[in-house]
Symmetry: C2
Subunit: 137 residues, 2 copies
Amino acid sequence: MFTRIDHIGIAVENLDESIALYDRDFDLKLVHRETVEEQGVEAVLLDVGENHVELIAPLGPDTGVAKFLAKNGPGLHHVAYQVEDIEAEIARLTAAGIRMIDKEPRTGIRGSRVAFMHPKSTASVLTELTEPAKGAH
Amino acid sequence: MFTRIDHIGIAVENLDESIALYDRDFDLKLVHRETVEEQGVEAVLLDVGENHVELIAPLGPDTGVAKFLAKNGPGLHHVAYQVEDIEAEIARLTAAGIRMIDKEPRTGIRGSRVAFMHPKSTASVLTELTEPAKGAH
């Protein structure tokens, strides 16, 4: 079961300029900043109620997000749904015929456990499952 | 103040095929279906906790969503933040230098009042404000 939209992921060229838009102009609270080497990004989280905006900027030109930016320019990159038991969700979706990029959860931002579905299974929407770390929301 | 992510808008070629993915495979509850002539779309809403997924399919080839699909293919189209007082938010954002496509709210899906910001002001992310109709969430 997906309990809420955990976050939308937005690919940006310049993290600090984008933070100004979301933090200062939109008045969202910046709550976290982290380099996620495994995903090749520097990322921040901003709270919107119980949901988040995740701004992601590439660490280098060979990263997935750099390639996304080169092809599409900045913009909406992915959506993450929050789940309570990520292994159970991976099993349920796989049984439903969804192709998972991650057959096992891996570590995402702020200690979460995450798994991505393949966009070919999701009508071209890069879709993530997120199980937050205990104590996070 | 943005109180939550109201919905993510996903542009699709075929509404019924996409409903199968979100309703059957993702197990989200389909709660609304509507033709929004003003925006040139047929749209459905599915609940994800207190958030929604909005699937939108174009009514004809001259609509904005048809042009989006021709250029980008199906995928993430916009994000909508929920607000309690849309006129106050339009005024606040305009004062902050954000360019609004809609300087006054107009009617959106399920009786909501909505206003879009110009993507040139939002780092290429089509961003909507949504004030739900009374009784909706």
